[in-house]
């Protein structure tokens, strides 16, 4: 008796999330537009809120101009820092995770450094390396290092004891054991950590560029802020969001392809 209705419901139910999501998106834009007009009349504390259209226009103008140069500069800082941070965390993590003594000597130091976000290091990096590329790479590398090291230590320690005993029984030398057991386990975790570190590394790029504003998206953001151009500020914020989204999507795909058995647990 309910089969016909059910079937038509089932046929359309895949559309529901899309329609509702679209409604939500349009609703948010509508609310934003109304707020913009209301605030223009002097209704609230925020003096200038541009309409979504104005921000979109600024985004287009930026995309036709300096956006690609700025994006390339920011991405370069990010990628170099991310690779340096991940590689050094992999090496340090395996040493700390595999050697009892190194772990006991340097583990507590890493633990003491970890709660201090790399963003707190910005003023010191400026003193040490000035406002240039090195300074930003140092900060991003540190941010990524502090995240990835936890995963690297965990991965290096997590080798199943059975496998280790089997390897010993098979007469594998320490170096062979390292290559066959420790390295794969640790590097898997390093990859997972490297994805988790994407956002904190990207956030660090933003702060570093806001403070040491010479090149990149953050420098542009500060420049338009200093000319009180609110819609251009919002347009470059959108660029940061889009870039973060694209990087996250690319790396999730990459991780799914490389470590299919892990990607479920690592999805954030």
């Amino acid at each position: 008796m309910e089969s016909a209705a059910d079937r038509s419901m089932a046929g359309w139910s895949w559309l529901r999330p899309w329609l509702l999501g679209l409604t939500g998106g349009i609703g948010a834009l509508l609310f934003w537009t109304l707020m913009a007009f209301w605030l223009k009349g002097g209704g609230g504390v925020i003096s200038r809120l541009p309409t979504p259209l104005a921000v979109g226009a600024d985004l287009l103008a930026y995309a036709q101009g300096a956006l690609w140069r700025d994006l390339a500069a920011s991405l370069q800082v990010f990628l170099v820092g991310w690779i340096v941070g991940s590689v050094s965390a992999a090496v340090a993590g395996m040493a700390i995770g595999r050697s009892r003594v190194i772990g006991a000597v340097f583990g507590p130091i890493v633990e003491a450094l970890r709660p201090v976000s790399s963003i707190v290091w910005v003023p010191l990096a400026v003193v040490w390396f000035g406002f240039g590329f090195t300074s930003k790479v140092f900060l991003v590398g540190l941010a990524v290092f502090l995240v990835v090291i936890v995963y690297a230590i965990d991965g290096a320690r997590r080798v199943a004891p059975d496998l280790e005993r089997t390897a010993t029984m098979l007469g594998m030398r320490p170096l062979q054991k390292f290559r066959a057991l420790v390295l794969p386990s640790a590097l898997t975790e390093v990859l997972v950590g490297a994805r988790v570190a994407l956002m904190s590394g990207w956030g660090t790029v933003i702060v570093a560029e806001l403070v040491a504003a010479d090149h990149g998206l953050g420098a542009h953001l500060i420049a338009v802020q200093q000319s009180y151009d609110v819609s251009a500020v919002m347009a470059s914020m959108a660029c940061f969001g889009l870039a973060g989204f694209v990087m996250n999507a690319i790396f999730s795909r990459f991780e799914q392809w490389l470590l299919p058995w892990r990607s479920g647990g690592a999805a954030r």
Partner: protein, 251 residues
């Protein structure tokens, strides 16, 4: 993992600290570094002692803490509220979810210039920023913890004659509490860093202002001392949140 702290562990940890201090001192001696590049550990310690004795330092600490606490309270309460609604109602989740996902990718730090334009260097700007940072962490963790609550619990609630509101408050929120608590801890760390970062860009007082000013005048010992203070406060705040939520969860 750190259940049993043996003497040798403590000794090796102290050896680690000694190595760091030796390398620190050694670098200064070897390269003949000036104090403005890298002060000695002793100088940092004495600067720290000076700071503790000065009034303006405590003023900065209080300013930063107040910005953090207000923003954390506002963002936390709103985040758990909205997260509960999104977790309970699939329709709400499908409608608002995509907007929240999109905004989540604009990390709080990217908002700093805008908050300066909108609110100047006032307290409001930082409170809004911290609330924004905390809100998104709490919405996402709350909604996810509620969605993953064991459906058997919901059925038990229904069987006991509870309405949807009763189930949401008495069953779902309790079952989701561990997830929400770990979110609250992560949000505290992020919120504290957001305060410091916001103070770099536009503020008149606070620990972030203190260390950027010190960095501009090359008072590196003050920069490092300030970093230590910021780190200790951040760790303490996370620890307190963890402790409080653990005590509250322990019923």
């Amino acid at each position: 993992m750190t259940g049993r702290l043996s003497v040798s562990h403590v000794a090796l940890a102290l050896l680690g600290v000694a190595i760091v201090i030796a390398v620190w001192q050694g670098t200064i001696a070897w390269y003949g570094l000036a104090r403005i590049v890298l002060p000695t550990p002793f100088e940092v310690a004495s600067t720290l002692a000076h700071l503790f004795a000065s009034r303006s330092f405590w003023h900065d600490v209080l300013v930063s803490l107040r910005e953090f606490l207000l923003g954390y309270a506002i963002g936390g309460v709103l985040g758990v509220l909205v997260g509960t609604i999104l977790g309970e109602r699939p329709t709400a989740r499908m409608t608002v979810g995509p907007v929240i996902e999109a905004l989540r990718f604009i990390v709080p730090f990217a908002w700093i210039p805008l908050t300066v334009l909108w609110f100047g260097t006032s307290l409001t700007g930082k409170v809004v920023l911290v609330a924004y940072a905390v809100f998104f962490v709490m919405v996402v963790t709350t909604a996810r913890s509620i969605v993953t609550v064991d459906p058997t619990l919901t059925r038990v609630g229904t069987m006991l004659g509870m309405g949807p509101a009763g189930i949401a408050l008495k069953v779902h929120l309790r079952a989701a509490a561990p997830g929400i608590a770990s979110g609250a801890k992560a949000a505290a760390a992020l919120g504290w860093i957001a305060v410091v970062a916001a103070e770099y860009i536009g503020a008149s007082a606070g620990l972030g202002v203190m260390i950027t000013n010190a960095s501009m005048s090359l008072a590196t010992a003050t920069v490092i001392a300030g970093m230590i203070v910021i780190g200790i406060i951040g760790a303490t705040v996370s620890w307190l949140v963890g402790r409080t939520t653990a005590a509250w969860l322990n019923y």
